[in-house]
């Protein structure tokens, strides 16, 4: 939340998203309790205009569910989502409509997200038609402007092509252009470069970087801490449906406090072969989010766990060793 009293563009508080899971025929007949996956289990964060927040974590940590809940693409089970000061968690589809064009999403796979039968121009124009924006001529101009904003210049060279005529990087630029054409204020980027070759990734990420500089709020979902470290202003690390640490990027990367963040950072391979440290490898795998312990959810795998860790569900608070006032970690030991 902003300190000057005004609100952030996006304010999420205590967000919960649960999915029912089948208990099977035997489970139903024997009347076992209904099971739920707690994909998002009490997540709070805020995002300002002109800011990029990276939600990082391993698969199943709830980062994508969080992003989808924020955009109201999946139903939430609790908590509050305020967009530009307006509570949107209870809005109907119709009420949401005018807000939709202000919040957009770029998906991971540009090979799946573009319709192969649509020319680039038609793909980008479609959102304008859906939202009934402008005349035909104005729409065409908006499409060109969006293409150039996404780095596909000159736009004429791309506007009449089909997706199969484009490289992976170019396709992702088309997908980005299709979100930009509506002039959104919030952009969710869900693993925007993980399907792309290393040599073209930086080009896509620098577009997001420039858009952020122009005032767009970017929520980036990524499993890649190195990418988050390079581009995000703030990082929030998720584990089993909860943010366990958050803060300004350099503070989280250079002064991590939560034992999960520390372990995660230690296993990220470094480019320089002389920096072969001792990775602190956690054994086993992330447990599923059906049976989350009522105390610290990281305790069963934590190298620093003590008896007290099984008595409280720790809240995010400023760690003693933090060097930045906005640094938070959910651990009773730091």
């Amino acid at each position: 939340m902003s300190t000057n009293g005004s609100h952030s563009l996006l304010e999420v508080e205590d967000l919960v998203a649960r999915y029912p899971v089948g208990r099977g025929v035997v489970g139903a007949v024997t009347r076992q309790p209904k099971l739920e996956v707690r994909a998002v289990d009490g997540v709070s964060f805020s995002l300002d205009r002109g800011e990029m927040l990276a939600l990082v974590g391993e698969s199943g940590c709830g980062k994508t569910s969080t992003a989808q809940s924020v955009l109201r693409l999946i139903e939430t089970s609790g908590g509050s989502i305020r967009f530009d000061g307006q509570e949107i968690s209870g809005l109907s589809t119709k009420e949401l409509r005018p807000l939709r064009r202000r919040m957009q999403i770029v998906y991971q796979d540009p090979y799946e997200s573009l319709d192969p039968r649509f020319r680039v121009g038609a793909t980008i124009e479609e959102p304008l038609e859906v939202h009934k924006v402008g005349s035909r001529q104005e729409r065409r101009e908006a499409v060109k402007a969006a293409l150039e904003l996404a780095g596909l210049t000159p736009a004429e060279l791309y506007i009449d092509r089909y997706p199969h005529e484009l490289s992976g990087g170019q396709r992702q630029r088309v997908a980005i252009a299709a979100t930009l054409v509506l002039g959104p204020e919030l952009l969710v980027a869900d693993e925007p470069v993980s399907m792309l070759d290393v040599s073209v990734r930086a080009g896509i990420l620098s577009i997001l970087d420039e858009l952020r500089d122009k005032g767009l709020a970017v929520l980036m979902i990524t499993h890649d801490l190195s990418t988050a470290a390079h581009y995000a202003d703030r990082i929030a690390v998720m584990y089993l449906g909860r943010i366990v640490e958050e803060g300004p990027t350099r503070e989280v990367i250079e002064n991590p406090q939560h034992p999960y963040t520390r372990a995660l950072l230690s296993v990220v391979p470094k480019r320089d072969p002389r920096e072969r440290g001792t990775p602190q490898i956690l054994r086993g795998e992330t447990p599923n989010s059906i049976h989350i312990p009522p105390w610290c959810r990281f305790q069963p795998r934590c190298p620093m766990a003590i008896a007290d860790c099984k008595t409280v569900d720790p809240e995010l608070r400023r760690p003693a060793a933090s060097t930045h006032p906005e640094h938070r970690a959910a651990c009773i030991r730091v």
Binding site: E58, S59, S167, G169, D197, V198, S199, V200, R201, A202, G203, I204, L205, S206, H223, D224, L225, S226, T227, A229, H230, Y231, T249, R250, I253, A263, L264, L265, V267, V268, P269, K270, R271, D272, P273, R274, E275, R276, P279, I281, L282, R283, E285, T286
Partner: protein, 327 residues
């Protein structure tokens, strides 16, 4: 000097295309591998790294033509095709394929699928094969009672461990691993890489790691070859590749890779795209994307030349008296 365990020399692979043309996927690559060594083959999609591995295994599809030599203990195993390669496949050279963890037979137990190659190759059968399969599973970090479980009961990381155990069933001396951690989370990736390194050490296994991910090679391998458009652009110790690269592609690829520590440093993409491999390439294949291209690059093909101790690169910059490429 003693004969290296595996020598690949001037390996070429062409694919006949349905349209009638030919795609020259691997263009005269050479490298060698010592026992117990961890060697990386790095490059982006389409650079020919997987095709090169499959040709070493003799597992290319029928529309492929291979030329060059793959020598195991000095003997060319490609000499008479299947006849000379099949005695070594799995017995001496084994491979963990890309996506192997998703390639298990869903209706057979994991244990029985590890016993299968042992029985096929006459290594062991029946109860002995079962015991060996259980030992292998334990060695890769899976409790042996899991041998009776089916693949769907395993997590992704466990299935990848089982795929590694399966590749080791016939006690090979060389393990080819194609993108072994690509679909895995970073913590599971660390577990698998740690396992591969310890297996290489314990069994004096030569590890050939194929990946698009430079930091993985930097952390795991001793030496590596960087491939571009079917060719080896540069091959050296991993330290030399990072600190004193002699090919602009190597330098630019490292510069395009974000790193946790280098926060302020700019990550730059490489403009352009690799050349088409179904047409002849004139001059240096990287020239159109290179930031240091000069007079000879568009017309003269650079040859792989020695530029340091066990360090080769294919770049005209190394022949001409210009300031050397800097890291």
């Amino acid at each position: 000097m003693t004969t290296p365990l595996l020598e690949v020399e001037d390996l070429n692979v062409w694919f006949e295309l349905p349209s009638g043309g030919e795609l020259h996927a691997v263009r005269g690559i050479s490298f060698e591998l010592e026992a117990g060594e961890r060697f990386g083959l790095v490059g982006e999609s389409g650079c020919g790294k997987t095709t090169a591995m499959l040709s070493i295994m003799g597992l290319l599809p029928p529309n492929a033509t291979v030329a060059g030599e793959v020598r195991l203990d000095g003997e060319n195993i490609l000499a008479r095709g299947e006849e000379t390669v099949s005695p070594h496949r799995w017995n001496d050279i084994a491979m963990v394929f890309q996506g192997a963890m998703n390639a298990f037979n869903p209706v057979k137990t994991v244990g029985s699928q590890i016993e299968e190659p042992m029985e096929l190759h006459g290594i062991a059968e029946g109860r002995i094969a079962r015991r060996q399969a259980e030992e292998l599973l334990e060695r890769v970090g899976i409790p042996k009672d899991r041998a009776d479980r089916f693949p769907h009961e395993f997590s992704g990381g466990m299935r990848q461990r089982a795929a590694i155990a399966m590749a080791l069933a016939c006690e090979p001396r060389i393990l080819l691993a194609d993108e072994p951690t690509t679909a895995l989370d970073v913590m599971v990736q660390a577990q698998i890489l740690e396992l591969l390194v310890s297996l290489a050490a314990d069994f004096n296994l030569a590890l050939l790691l194929v990946t698009h991910d430079l930091p993985i090679v930097a952390q795991v391998c001793d030496r590596a070859a960087v491939m571009y458009a079917g060719e080896v652009a540069e091959s050296a110790s991993i330290d030399a590749l990072f600190h004193t690269p002699k090919h602009p592609y190597t330098r630019l690829l490292f510069a395009a890779t974000p790193d946790l520590r280098a926060g302020g440093e700019r990550v730059a993409s490489i403009p352009g795209a690799p050349p088409r491999l179904d047409k002849p390439i004139v001059g240096c294949p990287f020239q159109p994307r290179c930031d240091r291209a000069f007079a000879p690059c568009p017309t003269e093909t650079p040859l792989l030349k020695t530029v340091g101790e066990r360090h080769v690169a294919a770049c005209h910059l190394n022949d001409h008296v210009r300031e050397p490429a800097t890291a």
